[in-house]
Symmetry: C2
Subunit: 290 residues, 2 copies
Amino acid sequence: MKKLQDLTFAMIGLGLIGGSYAKALKNLKVKNVIGLDRNKVVTLMALDEGYIDEGCLDSLEPLRQADVIIATLYPANLVEFVREHVQYFKQDVLFTDVTGVKSNLLEQVDALLGAGRDFVSGHPMAGREGKGYGQSAAEIFNGANYIVIKREVNQPEHVQWLKDFALTLGCKHVVEITAEEHDKIIAYTSDLPHVLALSLVNSASLTPNTKYFIAGSFRDATRVADINGPLWADLFLYNKVGVIAEIEQYKKELDKWEQLLRADDKQGLLEYMEAAKQKRKDLFNAKNYR
Amino acid sequence: MKKLQDLTFAMIGLGLIGGSYAKALKNLKVKNVIGLDRNKVVTLMALDEGYIDEGCLDSLEPLRQADVIIATLYPANLVEFVREHVQYFKQDVLFTDVTGVKSNLLEQVDALLGAGRDFVSGHPMAGREGKGYGQSAAEIFNGANYIVIKREVNQPEHVQWLKDFALTLGCKHVVEITAEEHDKIIAYTSDLPHVLALSLVNSASLTPNTKYFIAGSFRDATRVADINGPLWADLFLYNKVGVIAEIEQYKKELDKWEQLLRADDKQGLLEYMEAAKQKRKDLFNAKNYR
């Protein structure tokens, strides 16, 4: 691979995540960044602000120059985009994604790319509230974890490149796992917290008066209910087996609560809380999380 | 009632909440604030910092001067404290609390106080992370909701005084409800979010590797797992009927998720998320919450 600054990048999608890559690439003084968004106004804005050097407005021809393509698309759109536009991809392009669920998407994309083009799949655990280009920022990568999917089909130098690139972006840890492991873990660490937040707001217990009785715990517990529905419908459905398993696992904890409460088991409650407190401390004191 | 500044206040407990009252009272230029904490070092510190004018160190005699007593004790300690020390309360004292669960505590305290002494129960929906005097701050009341418990036994002028006092502290809304309503609503808006956070951390899905896969949603969803166990064991147990009811209600939402996912019902998921998003927006746009 050429030096980072001399590679030509193409950003497919310039939303919160895609825009953040474009901004980070410019911070890193990459000379040539091509950008494309389904909303042309966004492409024009990124051009105007200088975060991309060339925009795909009326044609995808500029993609032919890209050494690295980073697709920041919704799961359902990833395969579709490759199917429709693979003819513009260089024969030896390094193709990567940020998709929050892997399922069987990788094999579908592989089949469309054909030999030579290498799909090294990734998932930066980076983000922030809101959505869209206006919310994008190079800083979202600072201190974040970056998952790289471990696959036999990939060229080792490309995998190494993506791992190095993640650290260059400012990420703190790169972890390599299989697509199956990814989806299983994400069902717990990301899908489940979203399910919980949405369920709390949608509980039949919510009334017009609820607003007078909320404090920090309710606010924190429901923050992500301000959700990008179309994206998350895909994430949940592509990972439905894992999500259902996590919900079932979680219900067991709720059952424990009911048992402890019914038994007036103060000691049991204290131990339950102490265990959770300690686990969370370990999780965040590990300094693997900003 | 005398002018606020001329009343003698006694703070029973100088932790996060009690210390915050003491600091707020001094901001309001109240001339005489008596303080008492089971930890004498805390009492000495509050004296040294000038947030209280007199501390109960070796005797509770100073309490005899108090026109208003604000008890910021754990539920189980509230009744116990009144039982042991009611002889130091003025015959016409206005006694108030901040207890997060009301249950049958109010009647127990009434019986101990006897006629003349008036227990107007309250619950400021104010707080912050951590615990103890060191975390206390007058600002926790700013923009918060303050619940006043509606009871026939109280003197109307005392109830009005507490409502006015809450606004003077900086609270934005005062709501009057019965003890039963209080506990029912708090089971949903406060107890349940704590149950959910603790359960997420304690799920069997957590492994030593989880730390590499967490982003904002998991962090937010588990923030309150850093919990004051002895306090919350009381809050949960005194409100156990309500908490169990809320857990049961919540499980119905989780069941809906499983149905939607099993049925691959994308439209249903979109509608579910949209409803939650809208409800949360209404909740927080109502500007009844800081």
